[in-house]
């Protein structure tokens, strides 16, 4: 777990993000500061009093389901929408009244929005000409950009003579050509097929590192966000649910919603019955008493959920001798294997507990022969350590 990351506090998460990096040095003021920004469309609040700081050189991802307001937020940064309230500060200057064409920010559009009547070269040069750059300088810059995105030889083509991947590169080159302070990417890889998407993710990361530019990417694909971004902001209904590193987002989700949205999770509802030595005991209806490591003080009777990722739930053959052997196996849930899904790298078992609830366990297939597999109908014990459970307030 990364050391400088703050502790997650669900209650304060929406307002406290501005202080999310309290240990950062004083000169490291955020490049982009979003302060209490709202945007309404009619009576619908697309973005709801949202605050966020983004530092220079970050690769930041806005992740959320469709309609959560992430694209509206991005369009406000580009200047295509004006916030109804709040401020957007870029390098300390409020850019809310600045029109899109005067902002030192560029955007890569989801459908690329390449000008169909212009060649690749003219598309890339478009923004440079508007900036009044000298012809020779434009040629040099376009050349650099073409080399950067590996489009050599295609300069004279029109957009409709390009493949999807090539169009994506032209769009990228065009938005990078003006060397914006911040590059906004709206679902940059959504139109590419899976294989191409994966290689392009790596290229984008490599490019961002090399240019040291600030990237803000909007995506609905959590794997994409996890792979590329240094930090991820998870959005729902116009609000930021959590801002964290990919690892924290997965291992320490701030809410039930985040835990369910990012990855797969088992959730048990219950209430706190005791708290001792940083260990909470939670009485759940489905899984009996569960012990979870937790340093927060929580009053007895507090309604909570316990979240456990499937790969942290291990299975054992039912047997009196074996479970005594592992002192970590504090939480033991007995049940019957109800379903087995072989996924290649791993196998997911659905275990029906004696209470009727279902627990999913994902086991890596570390050997070729299925010596450790379990069959449907077999009685097993699903167990996990106190450190693997996360307590979420309800």
């Amino acid at each position: 777990m990364s050391g400088q990351s703050p502790e997650i506090d669900t209650a304060k998460i929406n307002t406290a993000v501005a202080q999310a990096t309290p240990m950062a040095p004083a000169d490291d003021t955020p490049l982009l500061r979003i302060e209490g920004v709202s945007k309404k469309f009619g009576s619908f609040r697309a973005v709801d009093r949202l605050s966020l700081d983004i530092k220079a050189g970050e690769f930041f991802a806005l992740l959320g389901p469709s309609g959560c307001g992430k694209t509206t937020l991005l369009r406000m940064l580009a200047g295509f929408e004006t916030p109804d309230e709040g401020r957007v500060l870029l390098g300390g200057r409020d850019i809310a009244p600045v029109l899109p064409h005067e902002r030192p920010v560029n955007m890569m559009f989801q459908n690329y929005a390449l000008f169909p009547h212009l060649s690749v070269r003219d598309n890339i040069a478009f923004g440079l000409k508007r900036a009044g750059m000298a012809r020779a300088a434009i040629d040099t810059r376009v050349g650099e950009m073409v080399a950067l995105v590996k489009l050599d030889g295609l300069e004279k083509r029109r957009p409709d003579q390009l493949s999807g991947g090539q169009k994506q590169r032209v769009a990228l080159a065009r938005s990078l050509a003006r060397r914006p302070k911040v590059l906004l990417l709206d679902e940059p890889l959504a139109a590419l097929d899976k294989k191409l998407r994966e290689s392009t993710q790596l290229e984008l990361m490599e490019l961002q590192r090399r240019l040291g530019m600030t990237f803000i990417v909007v995506t609905h694909d959590q794997e994409e966000a996890m792979t590329m971004a240094n930090r991820i902001g998870v959005m729902d209904a116009g609000r930021l649910e959590q801002v964290a590193t990919p690892r924290d987002l997965y291992e320490a989700p701030a809410s039930r919603w985040v835990a369910e949205f990012v990855g797969d999770v088992n959730l048990f509802d219950g209430e706190v019955t005791s708290h001792a030595h940083h260990r909470l005991t939670i009485a759940t209806g489905d899984a009996g008493n569960i012990v979870v490591a937790e340093h927060r003080q929580m009053a007895t009777g507090t309604a909570v959920s316990v979240a456990i990722r499937p790969e942290k739930v291990k299975l054992w053959h039912q047997g009196p001798a074996s479970d005594a052997g592992n002192p970590q196996a504090v939480n033991r849930l007995a049940g019957v294997v109800a379903d087995v899904s072989y996924l290649g790298g791993s196998t997911v078992y659905k275990v029906k507990l004696d209470s009727g609830a279902v627990v999913r366990s994902s086991m890596a297939n570390t050997t070729r022969l299925d010596i450790h597999s379990y069959g449907v109908g077999q009685r097993v014990v699903a167990w996990f350590t106190p450190d693997d459970g996360v307590v979420l307030e309800r």
């Binding site: 580009a78 200047g79 295509f80 029109l99 899109p100 064409h101 920010v105 560029n106 955007m107 559009f109 989801q110 459908n111 929005a113 390449l114 000008f115 169909p116 009547h117 478009f126 923004g127 508007r130 900036a131 029109r158 957009p159 409709d160 003579q161 065009r174 938005s175 003006r178």
Partner: protein, 271 residues
């Protein structure tokens, strides 16, 4: 491609072929007879250009043709300008006061009987005490044809991806620059199609021109019309063939232009 049940049946092909024959045969026959050497319109007397000679020696017809071409060119140009502006206002102007009236005024002439449009404009010109002739016909044709231009340009503009304009602004264009550098080149085929439609509509009109023109400035259709009422004349065949040829040339130019611009993504609408 998946095989589709009953996609092409003999019935479909026959319907289509008969329909097209019905549309084209009369025109083909007319063109052929314009080269007939015989004075009798229905007796084939061999190939000849005699009726074309006749036309080029017919002072009154030539004047009318020249008048029609001028009216068509001027009115189509003004109509294209105004119609494009109107389309921009309707598609990009969002909601504004008087928008419903505006679109109503632009759509009504499309289906309005020409006798009404012609009569109402004449009454205006009389009330204004305007001398009737070239300009009154040109204004009348502009009023009618700009509505067609608006419809053609409007549909192209509405189908244009708005993120293209946003991309232009993102890359440093103010709204007017974004329109000139990105939007305008992309709707140019539609604007050209609109001009040609306006030109041919003007070249075709009898009714409105009859109302709005003055003595001594008849247009070609007015002259053709009065000749036709008296019966078929071989010279009219020749004139009609030349008008068809002119329009055919325009259509070829238009389709070439839209071929050229088809590398701009969407193919331009033929209308």
């Amino acid at each position: 491609m998946a095989r589709r049940i009953g996609r092409i049946s003999p019935f479909n092909i026959t319907a289509l072929a008969l329909g097209l024959a019905f549309l084209y045969l009369p025109i083909v026959i007319l063109v052929i007879y314009s080269f007939n050497a015989s004075r009798l319109v229905t007796v084939w007397g061999g190939w000849s250009l005699r009726w074309y000679h006749e036309f080029f020696n017919d002072r009154a017809m030539l004047d009318a043709a020249w008048m029609s071409l001028r009216v068509a060119a001027v009115s189509a140009t003004i109509a294209t300008l105004l119609g494009t502006l109107a389309a921009v206002g309707l598609v990009r102007g969002e909601r504004f006061r008087g928008r419903t009236l505006f679109s109503g005024m632009l759509y009504a002439p499309l289906v309005m009987p020409e006798v009404i449009s012609g009569l109402s404009l004449l009454l205006l010109f009389v009330a204004l005490n305007a001398e009737r002739g070239f300009w009154t016909v040109t204004i009348a044709h502009t009023t009618l044809t700009m509505c067609f231009v608006t419809v053609v340009v409007q549909s192209r503009l509405a189908s244009l991806d708005r993120s293209l304009e946003e991309a232009a602004m993102d890359l440093g264009c103010d709204p007017v620059q974004a329109f000139v550098r990105v939007t305008l080149p992309l709707i140019l085929p539609a604007i050209a199609a609109g001009w040609m439609l306006a030109f041919t509509l003007s070249l075709d009109d009898v009714v409105i021109a009859s109302f709005t023109t003055g003595p001594g400035s008849a247009t070609l259709p007015i002259r053709i019309y009065s000749e036709v009422r008296l019966g078929v004349k071989p010279e009219i065949n020749a004139i009609c063939t030349m008008v068809i040829a002119l329009i055919a040339v325009l259509i070829v130019i238009a389709s070439l232009a839209s071929k050229l611009s088809s590398s701009q993504g969407e193919t331009a609408a033929p209308l």
